[in-house]
């Protein structure tokens, strides 16, 4: 479970000769429950990735905090990470290692012993249907295969909470449908899944809860039905434009 309150982050950006402060996230508060899929929906540059990076303890928020499964992301970094599986928007797997070796590396780094590591890898290969490329080096894998390896790696230590940054990027229709199935299954197993995307259909098809993020702020949160009701629109796209203050 994630309880984020007033997260903010400012970076020092360089524009031309000048250096100036760029507000990436101004104030983000939302919650994500176990057993459900929460979508972080927003246009490019809205602050989705920065928010997820703060939640993943990669960067420290300037203000505000978040509690993940009872641990604060500012004070209890290692405990948060133990509960967390993070998949950034590029798979970021090692091309000279095989699928198994990629997953094994993360398992061992998470402190798993040899026997349980191998058992868990077999389980994940089965679950994500990776049998035919389990022992191949990942260089030259399709985007769908890479995403699967990255997801398996994020899941290896059985984290309660999953942060997925634009996981369907670059996937074809069948791979996207396959990934949706996996994500639904994970939520059914009781995981808390947070999923960022700028694609409406993606979020509409998958998410139980939606947080619309725009210019570093949460513009609206709620279930699909409640968003439509609040904005008095008939589809998510119109509701989204309404929520971020655009003209229909």
């Amino acid at each position: 479970m994630i309880e984020a309150s007033n997260l903010s982050k400012t970076f020092l950006g360089v524009s031309g000769q000048e250096k100036r402060q760029v507000v990436a996230v101004e104030s983000v508060s939302f919650s994500a429950q176990d057993g459900s899929i929460t979508g972080l929906l927003g246009p490019n540059g809205a602050g989705k990735s920065t928010t997820l990076r703060m939640l993943a303890t990669l960067i420290k928020p300037d203000n505000g905090t978040a509690i993940i499964d009872g641990h604060s992301i500012t004070d209890d970094v290692l405990a948060v990470r133990q509960q967390l599986g993070f998949m950034p928007h590029n798979a970021g797997i090692y091309p000279r290692l095989t699928t198994r070796e990629n997953i094994r590396y993360y398992a061992r780094l998470c402190g798993m012993d040899k026997t349980s590591t191998e058992a868990r890898i077999d389980e994940l290969i089965e679950m994500l249907a990776m049998q035919h490329f389990a022992n191949r080096r990942t260089a030259g894998f399709s985007q769908g295969q890479k995403t699967k390896v990255a997801l398996a790696r994020a899941l290896v230590h059985r984290p309660q909470t999953l942060l997925l940054d634009e996981p369907t990027n670059g996937l074809d229709v069948m791979a996207t449908r396959g990934l949706r199935e996996i994500i639904r299954q994970l939520a059914q197993e009781g995981h808390c899944v947070v999923f960022s995307s700028h694609i409406m259909q993606e979020v509409a098809a998958l998410c139980d809860e939606i947080a619309i993020i725009s210019d570093g702020n949460i513009a609206m949160t709620g279930s699909m039905d409640s968003l439509l009701a609040t904005t008095q629109q008939s589809n998510l796209e119109d509701a989204f434009v309404h929520a971020i203050g655009g003209e229909l």
Partner: protein
């Protein structure tokens, strides 16, 4: 945890041809063969040997039988000169030709300076060296004749030697010796740098470029453990590279130059092992420098640029020490690389080394390595590392 990272980085990089080539082939094998081999071969060529029999082409040999007998007694095999002397020497068919003019015998008899013409090609190393050798022999012959002429006229030949200078070189080496002696630290240090070069880039800037750093840092592992693991992997490659280099330097000198000029330089097993141990603190320092510099850059390309510039540093002492006389004072002995250059030179020259200097070199280098590693950990704690 640290070992998990170490093992993964080694496995990963052993599969990278570039890393393996530079770490295990370029520094340890190609460089000693090319530089060491060339230098040894050059030294051998530059040495003028009066013991080895050599051929000498003489034109009109019949005009000076005594001179030829003298030359033959000094290991010169006399051959007939080719008809077109100038062309033959220029083309390198024969290195030099000694021509005896027809008035040689007559001038000698009448007590005049007897003319001899030595055809050499100064643009050709071999010819110019043979020329020097023949000239040396001829002046020895000339001195003998002088003595005979003076004795014949009842003069003591020694009155012409007003000053008799004896040159006593107290150094255990000459310029060439110094060059050869600094070859060992040069090769070892360059191999260390090349050995860790690509690995350091791959594990830091490369990891960031492949975007595998973000998920890695989100794992429940302290960042300094990741840095140590990566550092150890670089250290393993740097160490391996230096051991292989020591071995190949030993083999190069063993097979190409079993006997050293003057016999003061030593490249035997004992010397090489001693030299390796004296240089070993550098593996910690060089690994740390490579890691830190590569970690501070944004991309592999940037890292290669900076580390490429950094390559000048291990080479600098090699050139500086050739031309500038750096006294081995305590300050220079505390400096990493410079101190190893000086220590290793002395090992090869079989000079005595003070234990203070060894202690300073080891401590100075290890402290510098520690500081560099601390900087790498700091770099990884920054948010900008992503």
């Amino acid at each position: 945890m640290v070992l998990v990272v170490l093992w993964k980085e080694i496995l990963d990089n052993l599969r990278d041809r570039q890393t393996v080539f530079y770490a295990l082939l370029f520094g340890p094998i190609l460089l000693p063969l090319v530089i060491g081999g060339a230098l040894v071969a050059g030294l051998k060529q530059a040495r003028v040997s009066f013991e080895e029999p050599a051929a000498l082409s003489v034109s009109y040999a019949e005009r000076a039988p005594n001179l030829l007998a003298f030359l033959q007694a000094n290991n010169m095999d006399i051959e007939a000169a080719p008809p077109d002397i100038e062309r033959a020497v220029r083309r390198g068919d024969v290195p030099v030709v000694l021509e005896i003019p027809d008035n040689f015998e007559q001038a000698l008899r009448s007590g005049q300076p007897a003319p001899l013409i030595l055809h050499v090609n100064d643009g050709d190393k071999h010819s110019s060296m043979e020329g020097r050798k023949v000239k040396t022999l001829l002046s020895a012959y000339s001195r003998t004749l002088n003595v005979l002429r003076m004795q014949h006229r009842g003069i003591d030949p020694s009155i012409f030697n007003s000053i008799n200078v004896t040159l006593q070189d107290v150094s255990s080496n000459g310029f060439r010796g110094q060059l050869l002696a600094s070859l060992l630290p040069f090769l070892l240090i360059v191999a260390m740098v090349m050995g860790g070069f690509y690995l350091a880039i791959d594990t830091t800037a490369g990891e960031r470029e492949r975007q595998s750093l973000e998920p890695l840092l989100s794992l429940p592992v302290a960042r300094q453990k990741l840095v140590f693991g990566k550092y150890l992997a670089v250290l393993v490659f740097v160490t391996l590279s230096s051991v292989l280099t020591a071995l190949s330097v030993y083999l190069v000198f063993r097979f190409f130059a079993p006997e050293m000029p003057g016999g003061v330089l030593s490249f035997d097993a004992h010397t090489i092992i001693k030299a390796w141990f004296l240089s070993s603190p550098l593996v910690f320092f060089i690994s740390a420098v490579l890691m830190t510099v590569a970690a501070s850059t944004r991309s592999s390309k940037e890292a290669q640029t900076y580390l490429g510039l950094l390559m000048v540093f291990p080479m600098a002492p090699f050139f500086i020490l050739q031309f500038v006389n750096v006294q081995s004072v305590n300050t220079t002995m505390a400096l990493p690389m410079l101190s190893q250059y000086q220590l290793l030179e002395r090992v090869v020259l079989q000079d005595t080394i003070s234990s203070t200097h060894i202690a300073l070199s080891v401590c100075g280098t290890l402290i510098s390595a520690g500081l560099m590693l601390y900087a790498a950990v700091k770099l990884y704690s920054r948010e900008r590392v992503l």
